[in-house]
């Protein structure tokens, strides 16, 4: 089955990753209420003193947070050049009703559908979801560009927001998830440096 890679959309540090062989506690004291979560990820960082804490998968699987370290860079969807076009969808359901946050752009959900042909024709290749996206491009089809040097297909889709919002967004980061017939790069772990364009994170099959 043919496949392709999706690369880190920003440069930063991995601050959550997937559950892997460690199960999240059923009732993680101090980690929120995991019974409300589809937990296929875990947080890492100084706040989590009670062991692995479940990171909610809002829509799909294996959520990953990438910290920017304080900046608000552009989010650049980047994949192998088979992704000739994307369709962007927008919603505002990233934050739980219990999070104390109901404001855009923190609640923003951006779905990126990938196609092998222009403007959604050709083969449907899968989709990726991004959360907390500021300055989003509008809903619709976009033709990707080819990045000099790497030869990857890319499209700027928004930026990382500044400012906090309740429990939903308390530090500068991007949260994204893989959807459909795909796997995560199992060699990545908490604290790893991610390089935009260069670090592959998800591999899709079609």
């Amino acid at each position: 089955m043919p496949g392709f890679y999706v690369y880190a959309p920003i440069t930063g540090t991995v601050t959550s990753c997937w559950t892997g062989p460690v199960a999240c506690p059923a009732d993680p004291n101090g980690c929120g209420n995991s019974s409300q979560m589809a937990a296929t990820g875990k947080y890492c960082g100084g706040a989590y003193t009670c062991g692995p804490c479940c990171h909610p998968s809002v829509s799909c699987n294996e959520p990953q947070d990438i910290s920017t370290g304080g900046g608000t860079p552009d989010i650049v969807f980047t994949a192998d050049p088979i992704v000739a076009s994307i369709w962007v969808g927008l919603a505002s359901t990233a934050c739980s009703s219990g999070s104390g946050c109901s404001s855009l752009p923190y609640t923003r959900v951006m779905t990126v559908y990938m196609y092998s042909g222009l403007n959604g024709i050709g083969t449907f290749l899968g989709f990726v979801i991004f959360f907390h996206v500021n300055n989003t491009i509008a809903i619709g089809y976009y033709i990707t560009s080819i990045e000099p040097g790497t030869g990857h297909a890319y499209k700027v889709i928004g930026s990382v927001p500044s400012g906090s919002c309740g429990r939903c967004y308390t530090g500068p980061h991007l949260h994204w998830e893989r959807c459909g017939n795909s796997v995560v790069n199992s060699s990545l772990s908490c604290g790893d440096t991610m390089l935009r364009r260069l670090s592959w994170v998800f591999r899709y099959s079609y």
Binding site: G12, T13, T15, S16, G30, C31, G32, N33, Q36, M37, A38, Y43, G45, G46, A47, Y48, T49, C53, H55, P56, V58, D65, S67, T68, G69, G70, G71, T72, T93, A94, C95, S96, S97, G98, S99, G100, C101, S102, S103, Y106, F131, S162, G163, S164, C165, G166, R167, C168, Y169, T170, G171, P172, H173, H175
Partner: protein, 218 residues
């Protein structure tokens, strides 16, 4: 004439030198357009220059900063504020779901109960206001936390602004404690941002105010 040209050149050189991208320069704290100050990537501590347009910090902020500095656990316990949470309601799925407190007898689901403190890294959760929170704050001092700046900024989950006391720890990472009139409402582990990075994070919004640590005094 020659002297005038020389002096003019000297002034221009000084002006260019001070406005360049020297990362070691000390940014001036801004009273109104916080974004100008706060988006600086400089590692320097915000300027101690007094700014008459900057409103003084409320006493509770100074009290919290002093209690943290002095590792005064009893005082910190008294200074915990927190926010109530709705009891007995199952939140919708998503990020930051938070606790579901049990409703006291006779109260209906959705009634606001208790006092909870936000604990944040990149995303957050909350815990009851109590000794655990104090232990966490003392833990920041154990990491070597020193006050870097105070940012008066909006948390977009609330109509009320908060004071974010931004600290730097020995590893170079940023931490923060948020304070409202009621007292301490949040502890932030920084999401791997540096102290200047956290100042930018909260200070980038146009109405934020950044205070240098020297403003934290009675």
């Amino acid at each position: 004439m020659g002297l005038q040209v020389f002096l003019l050149s000297l002034l221009l050189w000084l002006a260019v030198g001070c406005s360049g991208d020297d990362q070691t320069q000390t940014p001036a704290a801004s009273a109104t357009a916080g974004g100008t100050q706060a988006t600086s990537a400089s590692s320097a501590t915000p300027s101690a220059t007094a700014d008459p347009a900057r409103p003084p910090l409320p006493p509770v902020v100074v009290e919290v900063a002093e209690a943290i500095r002095d590792r005064d656990a009893a005082r910190l316990l008294q200074l915990l504020g927190g926010e109530p949470e709705p009891c007995g309601q199952t939140p919708t799925p998503g990020i930051g779901a938070g606790p579901i407190p049990t409703c006291p007898p006779g109260s209906s689901p959705g009634t606001l109960v208790g006092q909870f403190i936000l604990i944040g890294d990149c995303e957050g959760f909350s815990v009851p206001a109590g000794a655990e929170v104090v232990d966490r704050i003392i833990g920041l001092r154990d990491e070597g936390a020193e006050l870097h700046a105070v940012v008066w900024a909006r948390d977009f989950g609330s109509p009320e602004r908060a004071y974010f006391l931004v600290y730097g720890v020995e590893s170079g990472a940023g931490r923060a404690v948020s304070v409202k009139e009621s007292g301490i409402v949040g502890v932030y582990y920084g999401c791997r941002a540096s102290p200047p990075g956290l100042v930018s994070f909260w200070g980038a919004n146009e109405d934020a105010v950044v205070y240098p640590p020297s403003d934290v005094k009675r």
